[in-house]
Amino acid sequence: MSVEMFIQHFLNALTLGSLYGLIAIGYTMVYGILRLINFAHGDIFMLGAYFVFWGGALFRLPWFLSVVVAILFTALCGITVDRVAYRPLREAPRISALISSIGVSFFIQNLSIVTFTAIPRAVHVPQWLGQVHLIGKVRLLPLAIVVPIVSLLLTSGLLWVVYRTKPGLAMRAISKDIETTRLMGVPVNRIIAITFGLGSALAAASGIMWALRYPQIHPFMGVIPGFKAFIAAVLGGIGSIQGAVLGGLLLGFIEIMIIAFFPGLSGYRDAFAFVLLIVILLIRPSGLMGEKLEEKV
């Protein structure tokens, strides 16, 4: 393989991995706090992409504005999902909320088919993002640079919130002991809502960039990226934000590089991720950066 080809694949992997990572953060944060795998998260990602599409196509919003509005709306959707489908089940066995999340996932997908129709839509890509530049023999899409940078900025911003702000401190406390956190006077439900809002905003950012990079959206576009980001979160160690980013990047690289080096296997592309999931769960269920299961009392 030529160097140019490798750079090309490297950039593709970096983009894909960043997008997985952004979605994976939402899984990992919700899991960290509620011990819930939010299966509707992939559909939240899809909504982000649709909102930006409708913002431009229907409301004729300037491109940048429609991105901001889409992220806000998606965050609101995430908060609503928690309020309607998970919060009433806070005291119920964990499996109930899990099943509820599967229900929400189906609901969002089917509601999207009804309202958006199942016809795939093409997303308008601003020229400065979508125009290919030839540098040597490398075809450079500005998105391949923009996506990792935006992802890095968003992730840094999130880490700042989690480690440097008061709600972030409350989030870290809730993840260990929700009852004692309530005794500190922390409005736990509001902090959980903030968590869903942040996770959904990142998923929206990912969905929007996904739609720009692979410019076609449809109501099921969130299913496979959602599952893969979930695998990325498990790979990195579910509950760990840094782990989710790392897991996302790793998964992106594994996927792209296997196909790059073994083009014959490209038909099995989606299968790699799931095989990987099985392997991690067998060998190292706490993931690369996950917290150890034992705990000092």
């Binding site: 500190m184 006077g185 409005p187």
Partner: protein, 233 residues
Amino acid sequence: MLRVENLDVYYGGIHALKNVSISVPRGKIVTLIGANGAGKSSTLRAISGLVRKKGKVFHDGEDISSSSPEAITAGGLVLVPEGRKIFPHLTVYENLMLGAYVRNDRSGIDETREWVYDLFPRLRERAWQKGGTLSGGEQQMLALGRALMSRPNVIMMDEPSLGLAPLLVKEVFEIIAAVNAEGVTLLLVEQNAFAALRIAHHAYVLEVGRIVLEGSGEELLADGRVREAYLGG
């Protein structure tokens, strides 16, 4: 300051608290003693809104019977839970800041933290250490310090001496007396009846979910039934 009237708590079919009424006057230490499973912890958990209850709770004249734990803490009535329950993955400093979560006055919080550090110099030394690395006694100091951070007027403590070496137990009770001397009202739940009665102004004895005896600390220390049942004869 704190008044509990006709408290009943059920866990499924189990009637854990039966018509419990207690009263904690301003500035005093009141203790609730009793054997394991008598309902001491349930009483505190019911007062702080963690378990569902029947009956009335008044704090500072305000009816808090149906308030959430968050609101009760914000109102100045704080529970130091059994087992201390500090956050092991957060630093001592962060634990204290969580205790001050209900406050927004930055400089006031810094002041209170300095006061807590003066009260427990060990916490100042270990401010940047993870809570989980502290010894049992230090964790108890942190739990109490964390409770003080919200500037409560009533603190409820559930078994502060549990699992501590005898020397530390003495220290903890000295600290409790010191906190009380600062004007904080205390409701103390203890299995170590002797130590608790010695510092308490008033005490209640709880037996299988019911108050069976009450009196001043000295009265109960001298009471034959109490001596036999809780003080080893």
